[in-house]
């Protein structure tokens, strides 16, 4: 499958993402510069992590107006898969492809650490290779990952099973202490109602090889690949 990895000025996780997709998972991938508009040749698009436009004004606030984002919106509207990792998640929220917003971490500190994620919905294009309740070990690296949404939006997310990952203890219990950022209801990753746009704060691309401490991030990418190819999951 062919992945487009979107790069804005200040993005810094594109090479990790590219490496995971091509070297580890054996997929085709290429970088998409923020001024490009043509996404036709891609099966899925990944907005990589980093600090687009220096996080000026708000995280993702300026990147969302880049030319490529119109194409990403069209791509999503056509039902194709869009994944936003970390800053990519923040951009998808800013542009309105995902509900809510990412706020400053409740303790005001930047967090670069391993987290455990509980898979809340294993019946999606992004989690099909996981089992419900499975705990994935994936690192976070952010200062503004504190998910916020108004009570109505939050209720809708829960009702439609749009919350895909919550921060949890290694045994899978969702406790306030397990959240690295004070996120509402320990939310780490969500998808849109159509089920084709997903954003998450943790970095699955940094957890695709055991030498890096965990290969659990592969579950997420393998889910996407399986969904696209229509073949059974293999992780």
């Amino acid at each position: 499958m062919r992945f487009g990895v979107v790069v804005f000025p200040g993005t810094n996780c594109e090479m990790d993402t590219y490496h995971a997709l091509t070297q580890v998972l054996g997929q085709d991938a290429s970088y998409v510069w923020h001024q490009d508009r043509d996404l036709d040749r891609y099966d899925a698009v990944v907005l990589a992590g980093g600090f687009s436009y220096g996080d000026y004004l708000r995280t993702g606030a300026i990147a969302r107006f880049s030319p490529v984002m119109n194409s990403v919106a069209e791509f999503a509207a056509a039902g194709k898969l869009v994944i936003g990792i970390c800053n990519g998640f923040q951009i998808l929220c800013e542009v309105g492809l995902l509900p809510g917003a990412l706020q400053r971490n409740a303790h005001l500190q930047f967090r670069c650490d391993w987290t455990s994620l509980r898979v809340e919905n294993a019946g999606t294009a992004f989690t099909g290779s996981c089992s419900a309740g499975q705990v994935l070990r994936v690192p976070v690296n952010h200062g503004e990952g504190n998910y916020f949404a108004d009570p109505e939006t939050l209720a809708e997310l829960n009702q439609n099973h749009q919350v895909l990952f919550r921060y949890c203890d290694p045994d899978g219990s969702v406790t306030p202490g397990a959240s690295p950022n004070g996120s509402l209801e320990n939310i780490a990753g969500i998808m849109n109602t159509a089920g084709n746009v997903m954003g998450l704060m943790p970095h699955p691309e940094r957890a695709c090889e055991t030498i890096l401490g965990s290969a659990d991030g592969r579950y997420i990418f393998e889910s996407v690949i399986s969904h696209l190819t229509g073949r059974a999951a293999r992780v």
Binding site: P9, Q35, Y53, L57, R58, A61, I62, F65, S66, P67, C93, E94, P99, G100, A101, Q103, R104, N105, A106, H107, L108, N146, F148, A149, D150, G182
Partner: protein, 103 residues
């Protein structure tokens, strides 16, 4: 005609403000009482060219909604007045604008 808008972006009521809480804690630590709450927002100066004050206001309103604030968690207010400021680009400003290439 040139106008200057002073835009205040604040967090909506009920939205947690970790920065405000931290400053509030520091104020209390300094020994001040009678400061029940501190909340932090943004102050943005925007100069706009407009045919009339109404047109300029309309533009600032639109900018506030579109980019200066995130309506999910913030609200904004602004005041606007004719400006006789002579705008001089800050050092390096053109360079940055060219590099980011946002249109």
């Amino acid at each position: 005609m040139l106008f200057k808008a002073e835009v205040k972006v604040t967090l909506k009521k009920g939205v947690l403000d970790p920065q405000g809480s931290a400053v509030e804690g520091a104020v209390k630590a300094l020994g001040y009482s009678g400061v029940p709450q501190v909340r932090i927002g943004k102050f943005i100066e925007v100069w706009v060219e407009g045919a009339s004050e109404d047109a300029a206001r309309e533009m600032v309103q639109e900018l506030g909604k579109k980019i200066l604030s995130n309506p999910v968690m913030e609200t904004f207010t602004f005041s606007l007045a004719p400006s006789s400021d002579r705008l001089v680009p800050a050092v390096g400003a053109t360079e940055t604008a060219t590099r980011t290439g946002v249109k």
